[in-house]
């Protein structure tokens, strides 16, 4: 692996109580992911009062005495920061140090995991020729007010801004996509293949460990009317799973079509306006009692007979059985058959299965719907998507055939934890530069600048743990030398500053 340009300067700290060099392993340890002791250990490199700061061979790691951990954590600065004549602060009560309920901070170790996940989202999307887009996290509330009574509507994070506009933190990305497609109009040639990774907000009652925000990966194809679109979307997700170590034994896709429901409801002459409402109700199956489902379906003008027939069809797990019921002529069966045939050509047949009970909880789906699930059945849906050919007309635009999916960052991380597939993501530092004497801070700066300059010929920083410690001591510096310690082996040598690379 090429040398990384990453350079960290350790700033010397002057304290009254530290008089000797700490073992080097301590410095290294400072930058490890999880310090083995909970105490904060300031860097206590200091100039000894009675001898020069030349570097002697270094001891190996010694356990820290308990005295050290009793030192006040910020004692290191006490000598250097004088009390100023003015205090800007209004000394207040201690604030709540936690992020708002249902939200997260991303300290470094969490951020590395997020970046790793997002990088995989991005690379897979690009592999499939999709272009990245984004939209404002704050959108007009009107974009999310649909009449089908989805959960999403009751969970909007909405408010009135200072200009009296009703706005909302986006609960999903698809309405923004639709808005942007309408805005671009004829200036963008079809098909559009876009992806996005964005934060979404839902004000949920904080049950079941759910959060109020999550990041969602979306891929959407606008302008492709046939199931090649859905087939390619599922292929992308399968590629993503394989890439992060998830197999068809861990995860599967349940696939159905809303046209199955359409054909049943059509047979029973159920009015058009009941369709998306019925889908939302059916999506609650397994979450609320069946009697409740039936009652709700009755209330949107489905007869008891239609409900019974519907529930019977929804229990089907075989395409052949469905074909026997609905006939081969309808779109529901022919599109599903085409999708299963394409899956074979794409090479992911073992990942997918027909399951008529899948309808998904968003009002706007019109055709194929799918969801990724964990085969052990412990987790919520991992991702979900489908065809939404008529979303644009709900916004007053001309419809364009479209399909897409949403893939959250929460359940996949739970799954990776369960399967012990979380990646090890160490901190990325190549060199640590450390001056042992405050008078050598300038020298240490020059050393760091030279190393960074040489590093910049590489396009990307290689991602590895700190490899070397470069020590700038006065007696060496006078001879134009610096000390280099290879942290993995403990090997230590001097090198001419001009030859450092």
């Amino acid at each position: 692996m090429a040398a990384s340009p990453s350079v960290l300067i350790l700033h010397p700290r002057l304290t009254l109580f530290a008089t000797s060099l700490r073992p080097f392993s301590l410095i290294h340890h400072q930058f490890s992911l999880r310090p083995p002791t909970p105490s904060r250990l300031p860097i206590l490199f200091a100039r000894s009062r009675n001898h020069s700061s030349s570097i002697s061979p270094l001891p190996t790691a010694t356990p820290l005495s308990t005295d050290d951990s009793k030192e006040t954590p910020h004692a290191g600065r006490s000598g250097s920061v004088s009390s100023p004549p003015f205090q800007a602060a209004d000394y207040s009560q201690k604030i709540d140090v936690n992020p708002p309920k249902g939200t997260r901070d991303f300290p470094p170790e969490e951020m590395r995991l997020r970046n790793w996940l997002f990088q995989n989202f991005r690379e897979v999307s690009q592999l499939f020729g999709f272009e990245e887009v984004d939209y404002p996290v704050l959108e007009s509330e009107a974009l999310y007010i649909r009449k089908a009574g989805e959960e999403i509507r009751d969970q909007l994070y909405c408010f009135e801004d200072r200009g009296n506009r009703r706005v909302a933190l986006r609960p999903e990305l698809t309405p923004s996509l639709a808005r942007l497609v309408m805005q671009k109009g004829k200036s963008v040639p079809l098909p559009i293949k876009w992806f996005a990774v964005g934060q979404c907000w839902r004000y949920e009652r904080m049950t079941r460990g759910r959060r109020r925000e999550h990041y969602q990966w979306n891929m959407d194809i606008i302008g492709v009317p046939d199931v090649t679109g859905e087939a390619e979307l599922i292929s992308s997700i399968v590629t993503f799973f394989k890439r992060i170590g998830i197999t068809a034994r861990d995860v599967g896709f349940k696939i159905s079509s809303r046209k199955v429901l359409q054909e049943v409801l059509s047979f029973y002459s159920v009015p058009e306006t009941s369709f998306s409402k019925a889908c939302i109700i059916i999506d609650k199956m397994g979450k609320i009692p069946l009697e409740e489902i039936k009652k709700e379906l009755n209330s949107v003008e489905l007869s008891t007979e239609a409900v019974d027939e519907l529930l019977q069809v929804l229990s089907m797990k075989s395409l052949t059985e469905l074909e026997e019921k609905l006939g081969a002529a309808g779109e529901a069966v022919s599109e599903l058959k085409q999708l299963f045939s394409l899956a074979e050509k794409f090479g992911y047949s073992e990942w997918i299965q027909f399951d008529a009970s899948v309808v998904r909880g968003l009002a706007y789906y019109t055709g194929i719907v799918f969801e990724g699930f964990d085969r052990e059945g412990k987790l919520r849906a991992i991702c979900g998507g489908g065809r939404y050919d008529r979303l644009l007309s709900t916004f007053g635009g001309d419809d364009i055939p479209a399909c897409g999916f949403g893939f959250g960052d929460a359940v996949i991380i739970e799954l990776l934890k369960e399967r012990k597939l979380l990646p090890e993501l160490p901190l990325e530092v190549e060199n640590i530069v450390c001056s042992l004497d405050p008078d050598l801070q300038g020298a240490a700066s020059s050393v760091a600048t030279v190393l960074r300059g040489k590093g910049q010929v590489f396009k990307r920083a290689a991602r590895i743990n700190a490899r070397r410690l470069i020590l700038v001591g006065s007696s060496e510096w006078q001879r134009g030398m610096v000390s280099v310690k290879i942290l993995s082996t403990g090997e230590q040598y001097e090198v001419n500053f001009d030859e450092l690379g």
Copy 2:
């Protein structure tokens, strides 16, 4: 450059009016950044009615007839999407297709620019050994309510959530950083070196083309009391500028210290509580009339004599002059001198200049302050930062010495445009796979899967324009062959499917 794994499938479109193959340059053109004509041109590849879809040598680009652009934009799908029995839509008035006032969409070309900018932020931060972090975009309002009367307080995007909590979209990142540092407490060893790239919101009156959201790059060092911290931060920004082609002729840094003001106000026995208020007032110099400034300073208990002296000191552009005025013993002068000396060692002296008028507009700065400016004087400050050793105690915590900067995504883009330094960022597609016959969609899927599979041996997709078009035609496919067209040269040849790579 290594072959890229990026593969795009073109979906065949059946239309009644298209009977012949379009020139290939049209397909390529579809994926260029800005189409030269405003009309949307659907892909009109189609099976000709009377002959097989074998591929004949392709004509070069011909201008599109105006008849084409008169075709309805979505005509391509009309044959394939049947009208379903149910319509989920409530046909509504057309929504506002623009993002909320003051916010932005990021269509692909804007997103490529944003990603390029953020990638440079990240790579420079990592080069300097900083770790990435993030915080919720929605924070408790209390985090931003300071008593110094900064602009930021009047511009909060705040509201009450459904649980009656006062929350705000973050206007800046530093208070969240402080909160997280307090939360982590002793579990994180000092010094902390963190960076973040996050969206921030301010409800501004939409004058001067300002937006209500921007992305901000922050780098912060927590636990380093001396100016090596500030020196390293400025070095990072200089490295960033150089990387994107900005030189010391384009941009400079004005540097001062709030301790200059402290020492003057202390001499005139101005009360402590006036300090940060005075800084906020002084930051308005040049934006509101001088008489107004003087009046406001009087109102925070500065005598007319103190104000006159202050304004005289603030006009200084020379450290020597400042030293003559304040003496060499004070922290203001000694820290500034040390910073200029370190700048020489870091190698960026030509980028910086002392300018006592710089105070920055945030209440919490306590020492060195700096701002990056465009030397032609056309633009607002490009970035700004400084030392804030006492922020944590305003939140009820124990202070830790700290410094950092914020660098927005707006002014730098304006500057790059002015200097004609905006990068060319073409779409990243290596192969386009296109089937000429709907019956060959499965074959095209297999071709794409094979190409993507081979591509995955490369860690990252190489970033180039579409290079090849792979055509799956029926007569070739029967012989196990596909056609490959190199888009840059027009060269076309057949290749055995098994040998495609």
